[in-house]
Amino acid sequence: MAKVPVQFTLNGSEKAEFIDSGTTLLNALRDKIGDTSPKGGCHQGTCGACSVIIDGELRLSCLMLAETCNGATITTTSGLAVGGVLHPLQRAFLDTFATQCGFCTPGMIMAAKVLLDHTPNPSREDVVEALSGNICRCTGYEPIIRAVLAAARANPQNAA
């Protein structure tokens, strides 16, 4: 099969790969580039585990063709920690025990990050809405909702 070139910015660094035409962004990230933080749950856009941020928008990487991402800026959960310091959302997920098996966690964190980027001080309803495309087997969601609200509270700009 003919290979096609793709070039994008992943978590701040330039990536350039030749991939099979038709490869999803999820498979390109995991199998070609080696970023396994986006998870393949259903491969049809119904579970949210593969969520990544493309040019500031929450996207399902299992439904995107990698070749459509040329020139894009992509963020995954593995790019959130800076210099070994966890992102406030990661910290909050740990502190509030919001993860069990962990499979949904990267997608949840991506969805929550886009929410907090646009709505730094969300209501509980905002959080529920933002996470409604992501499913979780273990937690019953409540700890995840609490984690996102805790991360928002930890933002110094939200200090009352």
């Binding site: 069990q100 809405e129 992501n134 937690t139 019953g140």
Partner: protein, 333 residues
């Protein structure tokens, strides 16, 4: 036609582990040359935190901080035999095996320390911080780090232990059928409040109040995690989830998350969790198996609440609008 409110209660006993051909788990514990401890198991952590619990149990038994213990569950082909992580048996069975293995390792550790300190091993105790002290004379001490080095390079000892925990198979008595299918039971009680729309058959769970009796909570935060998630899963099975909605007819079974009805973060009831700790007689440090138990009482509680609300008994799960409407129709006729 109206929205009707109902309240239901249910209580359960739930066995820890199972009674097939006997229920065994084995564990091995050994020290590294620098006094860390490895626990080798074939028991698998599914995300519920079994590795953390086994590290705590081993650390408590040997007398070292938890971060000095590494749990290796890498390979079920080559590790000590375990029946598996199911039947809410992981903490109970593997935990007991780890205690036995860790006790044997601790005994060797104290024997090596006794040789180094020129005292009797029975006169030694651990401080829980990585040191071994002479009872009543704590100024005379040696670090576990130095004990392990001595064992490996000077004394030629292996600080290690073998653990085996077996619940033997129980056979029913021929005359009465009496038997002992489990040695250890967890308990729960749930009160659920629902609203039922008797025009659409739709059920909304308003509140779920759970009391769980789980033996000793070895890690209270992780126990809470299990119970919160389990309570939600019980509601989910009561009202939404099934692979075969018209069982035994296999038609209409969901094949993906578009068709399999799994609730999301917008479908949560107000949930309360209360933990009662009554240490079990044969559990590791009193623990029982809370895993599956915690997702069970919500189903009968919701069914009872639906009965309280609209007067129909739904005896097939999940309690779908279709089943409620059919039952209401049958009741009216």
């Amino acid at each position: 036609m109206a929205i009707r409110r109902g309240r239901g209660v249910a209580a359960i006993n739930y066995p820890t582990g199972m009674n097939l051909g006997g229920d065994p788990t084995q564990a091995l514990v050994h020290s590294t040359p620098t006094g860390n401890f490895m626990v080798t198991l074939s028991s698998v952590d599914l995300g519920q935190g079994m590795k953390q619990i086994m590290a705590q149990i081993c650390a408590e038994t040997i007398g070292v901080p938890t971060d000095r213990v590494v749990v290796d569950t890498a390979d079920t082909d080559t590790g000590p035999h375990c029946m598996g992580t199911f039947a809410s048996r992981g903490t109970h069975r593997a935990g007991n095996a780890v205690i036995q293995a860790a006790r044997e390792a601790r005994q060797v550790m104290l024997e090596v320390a006794a040789e180094e300190l020129e005292v009797n091993a029975s006169d030694l105790e651990t401080d829980g911080q990585g040191n071994i002290l002479v009872k009543g004379a704590p100024q005379k001490s040696i670090s576990i780090f130095d004990v392990a080095l001595s064992a490996h390079f000077k004394r030629g000892r292996s600080i290690s232990g073998r653990g085996m925990f077996l619940i033997p198979r129980s056979y029913p008595e021929k005359e009465t059928g009496a038997m002992k299918p489990s040695t250890c039971y967890a308990h729960a009680c749930t009160v659920a409040e629902v609203e039922v729309d008797d025009e659409t058959g739709e059920v909304t769970v308003l509140t779920v109040k759970n009391v769980f009796e789980i033996g000793r909570a070895l890690n209270p935060k992780m126990v809470e995690q299990q119970l919160v998630g389990g309570s939600w899963m019980g509601i989910s099975h009561a009202l939404y989830e099934t692979t075969e909605p018209y069982y035994p007819n296999r038609d209409h079974g969901g094949t993906d998350f578009n068709q399999y009805l799994m609730p999301g973060p917008g479908d949560l009831a107000e949930t309360e969790i209360i933990v009662l700790e009554r240490p079990s007689a044969d559990g590791p440090y009193g623990a029982k198996g809370p895993g599956e138990m915690c997702a069970n009482p919500q189903m009968p509680a919701v069914a009872n609440a639906v009965f309280d609300a609209v007067g129909v008994r739904i005896d097939t799960l999940p309690i779908t609008p279709e089943r409620i409407l059919r039952a209401l129709k049958a009741q009216a006729n």
